[in-house]
Each structure stands twice: as structure tokens, then as C-alpha cells.
């Protein structure tokens, strides 16, 4: 019974990808049951849109990780750091660009079925917003119900929350119960039906105890802190008077983003056979690559470079994403590879052009379809010595128009020492040639960005191994490659750095990547284009001359 509540709760919650961290490491059984569900992979025709429910796969991975989301995750220090920031009383007035990210992360942390961390986080969340201390969450809970002003705030914010949370249940039910008439949500009412009979003061202990036991009011088990930013801003009674509720905008933005869905366009570039399609499948845990969709009997190297773009709609915990994978078969495979980067640059600029045309339209769409390439993953063959001239030429040209993330492909052929040496060599050569890969140094916004990004910059290029086959290792089913001398686990950071790449691309820096594409690369293109046409450019933007000339192809 417990487990099916867990399942319902999980499926009902709208979350971003990052949720697995918080998924119950304390509930292995429901997760393991879910693991056996095969991934829903319906056969598709080319570029048709498809929904893949990633939740089952995601929980699979969370079970293999037992780190609570609060503690700094050794696996991805940067991600862990940002999480700590969130929970550690981050000032609301830091860079606004973080807002969207934060809202998603905030909500993602809320899925917690284990009671005490939930309460603790619950307590933690409040200080972040209302500067109260974290010592006695229960007290605060009880406190909130009594004084009037917090209730009023709760009231004002509840209408916003309840339609969003729809079917989800929140532990703040007791709180929202107070202004019962104001809560229209049926779900809330459902919960209230459980609780109304109990007198108000008694609800509190029952809530807490229910959260503890997860038996009394299973509905209340859901994300304690989802409503925190808005519901329980009422921290201690003393501090609530100064609370305005501006941070409720996070929730509003989150809702809007969830409704709209996200778009991500990734391009993969590299010689044939380096595992590009496999890596895409592994990253998104579904068959998103060109090969899964256009099955060819045998791999043939095309005579010229082709650009193949395949879109999928994937969904995870209510968050929809339109993922487009742009493949470039034929790159670097010929004998004479001169100018093989030109079709790719043309494609990228074409996407910018399309967006620009939409933008300068008189009657333009409310939401311009974004087909700009947000990120280009460049696959470096694991020779172990240094970059090849082709790699240098390509990256030098493309780092100016798109975010490049270089990865070392098929890294299971390098021992750890060789890997370190190779990475060092590559970093040196990138520096020597003035190639600025993502995350670019010049786009760091502030000190903490720089700190996080420095950590990443020390690790690029990531040495990745991709696999879409599962094997049994130590009683767990993991993605990996099985050889005669051992099994390489894709998600094990001691084996390869796939997890870091996934965190960078999806869990922490996805929005940043998109921002840089739209606000920097696209703007550069736009300025150049508009200058070319001698049209009046509204903002000179002080773009220095050398930037403009740098884009001369």
C-alpha cells in the first residue's frame, strides 16, 4: 500500500531531470519493481514525435545512488555545490538568471518520501526564504497555524499553488485547511476530507506523525517543501511580518515553464564509429539517435557530410521536453577532409537565420520555435597522444558560433594515467589555439559561477563510455559494457565520466547553455547580419570590433 502511494505520488509530481537524487533511497523495493518495467519504446517512423516516460529509468538510477541531495555529491561537485547553495540560505537577490534554474531545482528537491530528511529540508527551506533558524521545524509548523498574518499569506498563495499541484498532495494541507473556503483544488479538498474531522491543533502532530510514519495520511507524504516557498514562508511567528511573497514568482515561472515545455537541440559531431548515437541514447535513456529511428542494415560512410535532424518528445515527471538530436554522418571520414566543417557551420547559421527571420517579422509568433543548435558535442578519438589537426580546425571555427562540449569517445581504451595525460594535453592545446569551449571563461557571470565553472573546466574533456545494454553487476542491473576482463559501468564515476557529462548537459547547465546560445551566440550573429544589411541596429551593445570580424568565415 505504501509503495503504491509512492508510485502515485511520483508519477503525479512535475519535476525536472534532477529529481533522482532525492528519490527514495530508503525505498528500494518499489524502485526495483519499477526497474523491471521495460522502457516503452514504440517503433517509430522517421522524426515522428514520441513520448518516452523516463521516470522509471530515472528512479532506477537513483536507487544506485544513496547520497541525499543535500550533501555535496562527490560525483558532481558542481551540482552538489549548487544544491547546497539552495538549501543553505541563498540570498534571493542574486543573479536573476538563476531563477528559473533554481525554481526547478527547488521543486525537484522536494520529492522525498523519507520522513526526517523531508522535515529537515522542510525546515531548511524556510530559512532560505524567511531567514528563520532551522532548529525546530515542528515548532514552526505548529506556530504557523496560530497567528493570523501567516495564514493570510498562506491563503493568498494557496490559490496559486493548488491548481498547479492538482493531484499532488502536500503536507501543508493542514495549513491550507485553515482558510478552507479559499481552497478550490479538489485535491486539496480530498486531503481536507481526511483531516477536517481532526481539530486544528491536533492536525499538527498528526501531520508530523503521519509524515514520520507515512501511514496515517499518505497523501500528506508528498513533497513537504513544494509548498514551502509559498506556503510555509511563514517561518517563526516573529519573522513573518516582513514577508511579502515576491519569491512566489518562482513557482509561477515554474508552472509556466512546465506548461510550455522545454526545447533542447544537441548536435553530435565526430568520425564514424565513435559511439555518438549510443551516447545520445545513453544520455536520454531512450532511443533518440538517428540509428534507432532510421535503421540501416549496415553502416555506410556517406560520400559527403549529411546533416540529419531527429526530434523526439520526451517527458519525465510531468516535464516535457522536445529534444532534437542533429547528427552529422560523414564528418571526418573521407580521405580529404578539408572544409568538412563548412556544411555544419552553414547549418548552424541557417538555424540562426530562421530564428532571426521569425523575430523581425511584423506579426510574429508568441513563441518562436527554437531550432538553434544549443550545444555541439564533439567526439575526440582516444588516441592518447593529442588533438589531431582536424579536431583543432573544427573546434577553432565552431567555438565561435556554438557552445562546444568536447568529449573523449570510447574512453574505455585508456587507462587512468593515459586518460589524465591525454586530457592535460588536450586542454593545453585548446588553450594554445585559443579555443574556448563550454563553459566559456568570458561568460562567467559572477564569482560563484566562475568557481563552479572552473571545476568543470578542470575536468573537460569528459572521458565517456556509452552503452544501451544492461548487465547484472553485484546484484544490480546497470548500463555497461561487458568484456572478458570486466564490466565497465557507464554510470560509475570511477570508470568513466559519463555521469559528469550528463549532469552538465542536463541537470545543471542546460538552461545556461540555452541562455548563452540565445543571448550571446545568436546576438552576435544577429548583429553581424543586421550590420551587413546596413539596417539600423537598435542597440549597439558595445560589441567590440574584433568580435564582429571574428565571425568572418
Amino acid at each position: 500500500m505504501l509503495s503504491c502511494y509512492v508510485k502515485r505520488v511520483k508519477s503525479a509530481l512535475k519535476r525536472s531531470f534532477e529529481v533522482e537524487e532525492t528519490d527514495s533511497s530508503t525505498h528500494p523495493s518499489p524502485l526495483s519493481r519499477r526497474n523491471t518495467n521495460p522502457l516503452r519504446s514504440s517503433t517509430s517512423s522517421t522524426s515522428s514525435q514520441r513520448s518516452y516516460d523516463l521516470s522509471s529509468r530515472n528512479s532506477d538510477y537513483s536507487s544506485s545512488r544513496s547520497s541525499p541531495s543535500e550533501s555535496s555529491n562527490p560525483r558532481s561537485p558542481k551540482a552538489g555545490m549548487s544544491r547546497i547553495e539552495l538549501s543553505g540560505g541563498r540570498n534571493p537577490d542574486t543573479a536573476s538568471s538563476r531563477r528559473t534554474e533554481m525554481s526547478i531545482e527547488v521543486s525537484s528537491k522536494q520529492i522525498d518520501n523519507s520522513p526526517s530528511p523531508g522535515i529537515a529540508r522542510f525546515g531548511l527551506k524556510r530559512p532560505e526564504v524567511s531567514l528563520s533558524n532551522r532548529s525546530t521545524p515542528l515548532d514552526k509548523l505548529s506556530m504557523t497555524r496560530i497567528p493570523e498574518p501567516p495564514q493570510r499569506r498562506a491563503e493568498s498563495t494557496s490559490p496559486i499553488i493548488s491548481p498547479v499541484e492538482g493531484a499532488s498532495r502536500r503536507p501543508e494541507m493542514p495549513v491550507f485547511r485553515q482558510p478552507e473556503g479559499l481552497v478550490p483544488s479538489s485535491a486539496v479538498e480530498n486531503n481536507n476530507h481526511h483531516l477536517p474531522p481532526a481539530p486544528r491543533p491536533e492536525v499538527i502532530p498528526s501531520y508530523s506523525s503521519s509524515a514520520m510514519s507515512e501511514a496515517v495520511a499518505p497523501d500528506a507524504m508528498v513533497s513537504p517543501a513544494v509548498g514551502v516557498p509559498y506556503g510555509e514562508k511563514a517561518g517563526g511567528p516573529v519573522l513573518d511580518f516582513s514577508y511579502v511573497g515576491i519569491d512566489a514568482i518562482l513557482e509561477q515561472m515554474r508552472r509556466k515553464a512546465m506548461k510550455q515545455g522545454f526545447e533542447l537541440n544537441i548536435m553530435v559531431v565526430g568520425q564514424s564509429g565513435l559511439g555518438k548515437s549510443t551516447l545520445m541514447n545513453t544520455l536520454f535513456k531512450s532511443k533518440v539517435s538517428r540509428k534507432s529511428v532510421l535503421a540501416t542494415a549496415q553502416e555506410k560512410i556517406p560520400k559527403t557530410i549529411e546533416i540529419k535532424s531527429i526530434s523526439h518528445d520526451i517527458e519525465e515527471k510531468g516535464v516535457r521536453m522536445k529534444l532534437t538530436v542533429i547528427d552529422t554522418p560523414g564528418f571526418g571520414d573521407q580521405i580529404n577532409n578539408e572544409n568538412c566543417w563548412q556544411p555544419i557551420m552553414k547549418f548552424i547559421n541557417d538555424q540562426y537565420e530562421a530564428y532571426l527571420q521569425e523575430e523581425i517579422n511584423i506579426n510574429r509568433k508568441k513563441r518562436i520555435p527554437d531550432s538553434r543548435v544549443h550545444c555541439c558535442i564533439y567526439f575526440i578519438p582516444p588516441t592518447g597522444h593529442c588533438l589531431r589537426p582536424l579536431d583543432v580546425e573544427f573546434m577553432r571555427r565552431l567555438s565561435k558560433v556554438v557552445n562546444i562540449v568536447p568529449v573523449i569517445a570510447k574512453a574505455d581504451t585508456l587507462t587512468l594515467e593515459e586518460r589524465d595525460f591525454f586530457k592535460k594535453k588536450i586542454r593545453e592545446e585548446l588553450r594554445a589555439n585559443g579555443i574556448d569551449v563550454y563553459p566559456q571563461k568570458e561568460f562567467d557571470e559572477d564569482a560563484e559561477d566562475r568557481m563552479i565553472n572552473e571545476k568543470i573546466r578542470e575536468m573537460i574533456p569528459f572521458a565517456v563510455v556509452g552503452s544501451d545494454q544492461e548487465y547484472q553487476v553485484n546484484g544490480r542491473r546497470l548500463l555497461g559494457r561487458k568484456t572478458k576482463w570486466g564490466t565497465i559501468e557507464v554510470e560509475n564515476i570511477a570508470h568513466c565520466e559519463f555521469a559528469y557529462l550528463r549532469d552538465l548537459l542536463i541537470r545543471t547547465h542546460m538552461q545556461n547553455i540555452k541562455d548563452i546560445t540565445s543571448s550571446i551566440h545568436y546576438e552576435m550573429y544577429r548583429v553581424r547580419r543586421l550590420n551587413e544589411n546596413n539596417t539600423v541596429v537598435a542597440h549597439a551593445n558595445g560589441i567590440p570590433e574584433h568580435h564582429l570580424s571574428a565571425h568572418e568565415m
Binding site: L387, T415, G486
Partner: protein, 370 residues
């Protein structure tokens, strides 16, 4: 007196069986004599390694011969490589084992396939091989043939990257340019990045493509029917295993309580000499222990002869064009127009002409040298 003793010492004589002694001639000891002489003389072997940089060629060569031929090698970085052309570098090392001396020459081809534009990147290699043939040809046709140094390339190991799905265009072009000049043995390099299934698929694919493109790689000689079963079995296995998937390493690691040569990964240890891990042992056995002499024979008998015939044909056709009217050898009038004898005479004439031309050429060259 002395002759008797000599006679006795050569042939194992059983004084009792005089009947047998009468039947026994004694040339069964010829192999021993050859053996003794060769051991004294020593062997030489020239091996060429070709492939993109970073395929593990140097490591493999070091592993095969248990030496360190590349101690002072400097690897270029990407900038320097942009303007690099294909070079030919020779490393020579003298190895001795159980009294047998081997003069091993490794011909390395740095820069092959590394540039952005790899058009004709195999040309320096084919030129080098032709040069060696030409030099041997000249030496052979020269006056002093005592100490000819054989620099001809006996075998070329070609490293195919394991990352692709088969042969790439540059692989096909290279092998087609070289398959008539040298014994090509294709290898799958860095095989530790492939699972057993992938290796099998790749090998099948490569064999298919080699057939499709008509590339003549080195074929193992057929077993004689009187060889024992074990040898035949081994031979069959060897043939089915091509192209060999190899892993090279010269570092010693501890695995299963033993010290073995291998590569240490966080997920396990790859043993170079473990047959279930890779085909290194098969390659070594084939290259050194069983087929080294055959490689040399094929080089001498097939590739060199091809080259020589081609060369002579070119020379004759060139000279025939130049000296159409005059021939150094007067054509004798035939008394009896018999077709067969006519043919014979014509053949002999041509041979004579050829020899004359060669002599002329030699003399010219000697003149030029002086």
C-alpha cells in the same frame, strides 16, 4: 688418412650395421648444415608499421620483440602536425636469442593519415618500398654480389582503428596501393575497447570488405597434407582469426597472483598474452615463430619478382622505342623459316638484347658514379 677421418666425422656411422651403412648416403644432415651456417650468418627481417598516430603501433612493436625501440621519440602536438608530411623512419636493433641473431629493422611511418587532407598520403611509403626493391635489383645485377644488404620490406602491419564500422576509405586506398608490393597483414588496433561480439562483427565486416575491394593481403600458406592434426588445427584457427585484434603493452601488472604484461583499468586487467583477451599471441607466433621465413620467401619470390619484371618491361619498352632501328645484336638471317625455331630464336634475341641493355645501364651508372 685425413680424408677418412673427415668422412667419418660427417656421417654417423654405425660400425655394426654395415648393410645399412651401404644404403645410407647421408644428405639427411643437410638441414643441420644449413642450420649451422644460418645461425652463424644470422637473420634479418624488415617490418613496416603503418597506421594513424595513436593506434598503439610503437607499443605493439615493443611488446612483440620485448625491446624499447622508441625511447627518445618526441611526439608532435597538434600545431606541429598540421604541417607534417609523412616521413619514413627506420629503427634497427640486433636481437639475440639462444645463439640465433636477428637483425630487426622497423620502418615507421609517422604522419600517415593524420592530416586534414590525406590525399596520396601513402605515396611516400610506396616510394620507399620501390626504392628498396630498386636498390636490391641493382645490387643483384651488379658485379660484386657477395655482401648484398637486403633492405626490402618483408612485411607491413597495417593498423585499422577499432572505432569505425569497418574499413575507411583511407584504409582501402592504402592497402590497394601496397598489396602488390609488400605482404600486408591488417590488424585491429586497441582491441580493448571492443566487446567480444563487436570484435567478431568487425572482423567479419573487414574480411568482407577486403574481398569486396579485391585487396590481396598476406595469405598463410596451406598446410601440407602430411602435417600432424594439431598443426593443421592451429593453422585453421589462425586463418579464421584474421584480421588479428591486438592489444599491446610493455608494463607489467599483477593479475591473478601472477605478474603479466597488461593494462590496468578500474574495471579489470587486460592481459596481453591471454588468448581470450586478444590475438597478440597468435600474431606473435605467426609473425616470428612460424611464418617469418615464409614472409621473406614471398617477398623475394612474388613481390620482388613482380617488381623486377615490371622494371625490366619498362626498360625494354623504353629502349625499344628509342632504338627501334638499331639493335646492338644483329639479327641473323634465318635459313629455315620454321615457326618454332623462329620463336625460339626471337626469344633468345630478346634476352640477349635485354642483357645488353642492362649492361649498358650498369656501365652508365658506374660512369655517373665516377
Amino acid at each position: 688418412m685425413t680424408t677418412n677421418i673427415r668422412y667419418k666425422s660427417r656421417i654417423p656411422v654405425k660400425t655394426e650395421d654395415s648393410a645399412e651403412e651401404k644404403q645410407y648416403v647421408g644428405f639427411a644432415t643437410l638441414p643441420n648444415q644449413v642450420h649451422r651456417k644460418s645461425v652463424k650468418k644470422g637473420f634479418d627481417f624488415t617490418l613496416m608499421v603503418a597506421g594513424e598516430s595513436g593506434m598503439g603501433k610503437s607499443t605493439l612493436v615493443n611488446s612483440l620483440f620485448l625491446t624499447d625501440l622508441y625511447k627518445d621519440r618526441k611526439l608532435l602536438n597538434a600545431e606541429e602536425r598540421i604541417n607534417q608530411t609523412v616521413e619514413i623512419i627506420k629503427h634497427t636493433v640486433d636481437i639475440e636469442e639462444k645463439g640465433v641473431k636477428l637483425k630487426l629493422t622497423i620502418v615507421d611511418t609517422p604522419g600517415f593519415g593524420d592530416a586534414v587532407n590525406n590525399n596520396e598520403c601513402w605515396k611516400p611509403i610506396t616510394d620507399y618500398i620501390d626504392q628498396q626493391f630498386e636498390q636490391y635489383f641493382r645490387d643483384e645485377s651488379g658485379l660484386n654480389r657477395k655482401n648484398i644488404q637486403d633492405n626490402r620490406v618483408h612485411c607491413c602491419l597495417y593498423f585499422i582503428p577499432p572505432f569505425g564500422h569497418g574499413l575507411r576509405p583511407v584504409d582501402v586506398e592504402f592497402m590497394k596501393a601496397l598489396h602488390e608490393k609488400v605482404n600486408i597483414i591488417p590488424l585491429i588496433a586497441k582491441a580493448d575497447c571492443l566487446t567480444p561480439n563487436e570484435i567478431k562483427k568487425l572482423k567479419d565486416r573487414i574480411r568482407e570488405e577486403i574481398d569486396k575491394f579485391g585487396i590481396k593481403v598476406y595469405q598463410f600458406p596451406e598446410c601440407d597434407s602430411d602435417e600432424d592434426e594439431e598443426f593443421k588445427q592451429l593453422d585453421k584457427e589462425l586463418k579464421e582469426c584474421t584480421p588479428f585484434a591486438v592489444i599491446g603493452s610493455n608494463t607489467v601488472v599483477e593479475a591473478r597472483g601472477q605478474r603479466v604484461r597488461g593494462r590496468l583499468y578500474p574495471w579489470g586487467i587486460v592481459e596481453v598474452e591471454n588468448q581470450s583477451h586478444c590475438d597478440f599471441v597468435k600474431l606473435r607466433n605467426m609473425l616470428i615463430r612460424s611464418h617469418m621465413h615464409d614472409l621473406k620467401d614471398v617477398t623475394c619470390d612474388v613481390h620482388y619478382e613482380n617488381y623486377r619484371a615490371q622494371c625490366i618491361q619498362e626498360m625494354t619498352s623504353k629502349l625499344a622505342q628509342d632504338n627501334r632501328m638499331e639493335s646492338p645484336i644483329p639479327i641473323l638471317p634465318l635459313s629455315t623459316p620454321d615457326a618454332e625455331t623462329e620463336k625460339l630464336i626471337k626469344m633468345k634475341d630478346e634476352e640477349l638484347k635485354r642483357m645488353q641493355e642492362m649492361l649498358n645501364k650498369m656501365q652508365q651508372q658506374m660512369h655517373d658514379k665516377d
